[in-house]
Symmetry: C2
C-alpha cells in the first residue's frame, strides 16, 4: 500500500489535519512544524491520493478530451503537444474518455461527472454533428477547437481563418493571378465558411470579380480535392491558381493537374492550408497556410483553466494568427 497522510502525520509527530494544511498552503501553521512536515513528505515520497481528494469535493485536476474523429485528425498530435505545455504548468492530467457508448443511457456528460472532470476540450465536431445541449446545460466548462460555441461556460479557439484566406488571395494577386479559384472544404463547416469569406474579401480588395463557378466543394480529403480540381480544370475559362482548404486536398488537386497534362506551378499555382508534414514532402513542395496548432492547444488549456476557476467568466474566444509558408507550388501567372 502506498503511504498516506497518516503515515506522514505520525512520522512527523503531528496530526493529519496539520499535514493537510501544510500541503494545501494554509498559512496558519508554524514555520517550524511546516518544515518538519515537508521533510517527511519528501522522505516518504508522499503524494496525496487524488481519488480521496476529489471525493472530498476538492479539485480532481483532470481535464477530459472529446473528439469525434477518433484520433486520426492530422492535427491531433500537435494540439496535444501544445496542450501538454499548459497541462503541465497548471497541474492537470488529461483523460481520454473511451466512448463506451454515448447514448441516452450513458452520456458523455455523465461519464465526465462520474469522473469528476473539471473541464473538457472538444475537437473535430461540427455544429450539427451532435447535440451539445447536454454538455452546455451540465455546466461543465468546455472549450471548443475550431467551432464557434459561446455559451454560459463554454468558449472556443481557432485559427484566424478569414485573414489567412485573404492573405493567400493577395499573395496570388501579387503574382499577377486574376483567375483565382477556391477549393472549399465541407461547405458549412465553421472553418470553411470563414475561409470562403476571406477569399471573397481578398478578391474584392484586389479588385478581382468573383465567379461563382471558381468555387468547388470538397471535404478536405485528397480524393475530393482531386475530383474538385478536375471540375475546375474543365471550366471554359480555366483558373490559373487554386486555394485549397487543406493540404490533403491540395495534394489531390496537384495530382489532378498533373494527370491533365499541366504542371504546377508553371500552368497552375496551388496553395494549401494547414502545413501538415506532407506539405514539405510533395513535389513541388506546397506553399501553404501554417496553422499554429501548438499555440492553439496551449491556449485552449489556459482558457479552459480560466473558465474552471471563474464561474462568471464571459465565454472566451481566441483567434490565433496564421503564417503563409512559401514553398514551390506557386509562380507568376502565365500569359
Amino acid at each position: 500500500m502506498a503511504t498516506n497522510i497518516r503515515d506522514v502525520a505520525s512520522k512527523a509527530g503531528v496530526s493529519v489535519a496539520t499535514v493537510s494544511k501544510v500541503l494545501n498552503g494554509y498559512t496558519t501553521v508554524n514555520e517550524k512544524t511546516k518544515e518538519r512536515v515537508l521533510q517527511v513528505v519528501k522522505d516518504l515520497q508522499f503524494h496525496p491520493n487524488s481519488a480521496a481528494r476529489s471525493l472530498v469535493g476538492r479539485r480532481s485536476m483532470t481535464i477530459g478530451i472529446f473528439l469525434t474523429t477518433g484520433l486520426a485528425h492530422p492535427f491531433f498530435t500537435q494540439i496535444l503537444s501544445g496542450m501538454e505545455q499548459s497541462l503541465k504548468s497548471k497541474g492537470y492530467d488529461l483523460i481520454y474518455l473511451a466512448q463506451l457508448s454515448w447514448n441516452k443511457e450513458y452520456s458523455f456528460v455523465r461519464h465526465c461527472q462520474s469522473r469528476n472532470i473539471e473541464g473538457v476540450v472538444v475537437f473535430g465536431f461540427q455544429h450539427d454533428d451532435m447535440n451539445f445541449d447536454e454538455l452546455i446545460e451540465s455546466g461543465i466548462p468546455a472549450l471548443f477547437i475550431d467551432l464557434d460555441v459561446k455559451e454560459k461556460r463554454a468558449g472556443y479557439i481557432s485559427s484566424d481563418n478569414q485573414n489567412a484566406a485573404r492573405r493567400t488571395v493577395h499573395y496570388l494577386a501579387e503574382l499577377n493571378h486574376r483567375k483565382i479559384s477556391f477549393l472549399s472544404g465541407i461547405k458549412d463547416s465553421y472553418v470553411s465558411r470563414l475561409r470562403l469569406k476571406g477569399y471573397l474579401a481578398g478578391l474584392e480588395e484586389a479588385g478581382i470579380p468573383y465567379h461563382e463557378n471558381y468555387v468547388a466543394e470538397g471535404d478536405f480529403t485528397r480524393e475530393t480535392g482531386y475530383l474538385a480540381m478536375q471540375r475546375l480544370l474543365r471550366l471554359p475559362d480555366r483558373p490559373t491558381s487554386v486555394i485549397c482548404c487543406s493540404d490533403l486536398s491540395a495534394v489531390g488537386a496537384m495530382e489532378a493537374i498533373r494527370d491533365s497534362g499541366l504542371s504546377v506551378p508553371q500552368d497552375i499555382s496551388v496553395i494549401g492550408f494547414d502545413d501538415i508534414e506532407i506539405a514539405s514532402y510533395v513535389q513541388p513542395a506546397l506553399t501553404t497556410v501554417r496553422q499554429d496548432m501548438i499555440t492553439i492547444g496551449k491556449r485552449a488549456i489556459e482558457l479552459l483553466d480560466d473558465l474552471i476557476n471563474d464561474e462568471q467568466l464571459a465565454p472566451p474566444e481566441a483567434i490565433i494568427p496564421t503564417e503563409l509558408i512559401i514553398r514551390g507550388s506557386c509562380g507568376p501567372a502565365k500569359e
Copy 2:
C-alpha cells in the same frame, strides 16, 4: 450535486448495500428488487462516482500512457486509435500523464499511484533512455511497445521486425538485386537490431554475401537518411538497392539519389519501413513494410488487461505480423 447511491436506494425503497450489489453483479439479490433498482438507476441516470469507487479499493478503470517522444511520433495516433477499441470494450479510460516533472521528488510512478492507475503503456523509449527499475519494482502492470521488456508484471508488443526485413531482402532478390544495402536506424535500438538481423538472415538465405560497408547508420529521420544514402552512393561498388529502417529515412535516401543524378527505381530501388501516410504521397510512391499499429494498440491494452487481472501471469510477449506494400520505388536490378 450529481445523484448518488443513496438517492437511488431511497427511490427504489432499498438500502445502499442492495443497490451496490446490483451494480456489481452480485447474484445474491432478488430478481424483482434487482429490476426495480436497475430501473431507478436508469431513470436517475445514476453512475457511481469513480473517485469513491477507487478510494474504497476497487478498480479505478484507468490506464496511463507514458511517452517520451512528446506526441510527435508518427505512429502515435494509430496506436491510440487501436487502443481505443479495446479500452472501450474493457471499460477503461486512458489518462495521459502530463510530465509535471519526472524527477526524484516526483516520479512517474508516484503519480500513477496517487491516481490509482491500474496499468501503463510505455511507448517511444529505448532501454537506456531512462531507468525503468522504479516502474518495474512498483509492481504497476506495464506494457511496452517496441521494447523487449520482460519482467515480473511487464511485457511487450512489437512488429515482427526480423521477418519483415528478411522479406524485403527476398523481394529484392527476386528482382535480381544482389547489391542490397541497408540503411539502419539508431543502431542499438530494439527495432534496428532485429531488422539488421533479418537483413543478414535474408542475405544468407538468398545466397548473397554480406558486405559490411553496405550497412549505413541513420537515426530514422529524413536528414540522416539523406546523408547515409550519400555515403552508400560514394561506394566503389555502388548498391542497386537500399532497405531503409523508416519511411522518413527512405524519403531522405530518395532525395540523395535524385540529387546525385540517379533515379528511383531505374538506378536504385528503395524500400521503406512503417507505411506512414507520406509513403503514398512521395514520387515514386514508396514500397514499404506496413506495421499494423492499430492491432498493436488494440492488443497492447488487451495484454495489459490480462496483466492487471492476473497477478501471476507470465510476462506477455506479442509479435505482430507486417505486410510488404508494393508501390513504385522498386524495380528489377539494372544490368
